[in-house]
Amino acid sequence: MSFTHGQEGRGGMLRCVLTALAAMGLAAASLTDAGQDAAAQEGHPIVIANILDRSGGLNIYSLKQIQGVAMAVDEINKSGGLLGRPVEIRFYDSQSDNTLNAQYATNALLRDKADAIHGGITSSSREVMRPIVQRFGSLLFYNALYEGGVCDRRHVSTGMVPAQQLEALIPYVINEKGARKSYILAADYNYGHITAKWMKNIVEANGGEVVNIEFFPLDVTNFAPVLARIQEAAPDVVYSALVGGAHMGFYRQFESTVGKDNMLLASSTYGVGREQTELSPEEGRGIIIATSFVDGLDTPAAKSFVENFKAFSGEDDYVGEYGEYGYRGVMLWADAVRKAGDASPDAVIMALKSGEISFDGPGGLYSIDGKTNHTTMDIHIAVGNDKGSFDLLQSFSQQPPLDTQLVCDLHANPDDTTQYEPEVQ
């Protein structure tokens, strides 16, 4: 058989490729290796990694947070740094791709020798990074609204969890607005499913009734079918735990079909992605939300934060909850480093365990619960106004992350790494 053609010629190609690959590896390594080993010495900066989606479909939640993190670090450095050392951010754009979260978390810990990672927007990006943080003995600050239940001493949640938010929102809707008959719409992934369970549970506990629960994949834009079903069921209130850019269509289609004058609309997620800035006044007005921070909070801390943020970022638009989360996450971490007297992950984890880590921030006092590494905070009920922002209706002081506290005790089980799904019937 004489199929020799090409093989002699191309035989070298594998060699070429492999050599090129190896060379690329060498180049990458030599570029980044220099001078990293001495990082822990006095006077050298404390490195934190920030892994968020600057590009890709999820960047709607990330862009303000990237600046929130940068602003917090900037403030810390301007006031003399931490433990006499400056803080340095290594930013990684995970491009809304979970596999990049894994890769960058590994790079941050092994190559940058970062003392903590701030980042992750979706639960899946967090779950990809958690085992890596575990493996290399580091610490992850997850600054986002999520479904709750992660019990892991190497993970700190600084955002809201469902019980916190819904224990304020739903009783308000039922008691103040008298809306008992409820219809629940949620995004079709873990957050939506767990939030919908809590919604149902709390609605029923407060004497309300749930007529239907529906889930929507994140790329659904056409809500005509569900709007017809909603009208058929004729509830008093529709609760939305819809997420992302595509789902914003719901708020428009709801207004043009049903109208908030005829039916109440309340949400656990609306406003988080700064949705109200892109809806018309009619479409945004009247949506009831529960949040730990909105720009319109009438406190000096909130006002100066919004002012500073706009000055720092050079952007004059609405800041919103996720921008503030980034800021709050870094400040809480900094408090833990100060109290530990050491930036290394294990020292910071010991400090977190004390339950004394807190930060008096733009949305009120945030304090980390030592048993769960989740954050207790003020929750504000607000309603969309026609200026692309929110009006405050009522504030609930210091709501604990009850759902996670029910299932997690890091004092008793320090090696736990489970994400519990709260037992809701």
Partner: protein, 325 residues
Amino acid sequence: MAILTTVGLMAVPSFYDFAVQYDISKIFVLALLALSMSFLWGYVGILSLGQTAMFGLGGYVYAIVAMNSVDTATAALIGIVCPTLFSAVLGYFLIWGRIGDIYFSVITLAVTLILEKAIRATSGDRFVIGKVRLNGQNGIPGVPSLEIPWEAKATLFIDGVYYLTAAVLILVYVGLRLTLTTGFGQVLVGLRENRRRVELLGYDSRHYCLGAFVLAGAVAGLAGVLFAVWGNFVGPSLFDLDRAAQIVIWVIVGGRMTLAGPILGTALVVTLTTWLGTQGVGQVTLALGAMLTLFVLLFKKGLLPTLSELLSAVARWAASRRAAR
């Protein structure tokens, strides 16, 4: 030389840290996926946009079996067998109907999108296989790495995964090259050159197309298993449109008519994407898009063939100079 290169590659872990090994392992795994497509496209002339279906299936099956506390070697094996069988069934359905080329591409794409949507819709707690929640959109985290057979309870660490993926890539590459020299492989090459002539010579091209499709499915499934081992995670994005399109890019950038080209293409594009993400240059997609567009305009056949043409042109020029003297 080839042995030297292999030895050189195998020596990388002794000189470079885990982060470098981790990045390169990912390239190795994705290069396998690119190989699975370029083998089909470059040699049989069928463009399957659905190799991600086999890739994702491999990853998911491995994750589910391994997390149901079967030993990981068995899980890996099942993770390869399932996508292979799936591609056999799918291939039979499509190839025996002698479906048109572009329809083949679209149907395979639709298959991977259906799998993606189906997996995304498994968020509720009803969707459990054995002990494993499918978790829909969120994917399955904490997928175990491969156990080391000769050490109880130990799993492959980053360097182990590096060795494994490097070895598998080299083996698959050599295996495919050898396949092409067999009688079966010769017919595949013939199909790429001139399908009608192959038929007129009496070969039933469907047997060979199906054979190649199943082989490519097995390679994609293997890549999926290794990807789960590498990232300890599987999610619906394994199946999605972005990844399906990216494979085409890797293969075209490297040049589809070779087997080595796609490996280089994968290495280049993946390295570039990863690197851009750390540069804080704003939108990675902007830079990537500009690069790809330019690439098509400047390199018609892909990087490797263009470079080798350039080299041989230079060689010819040098030879003619020498002859002139």
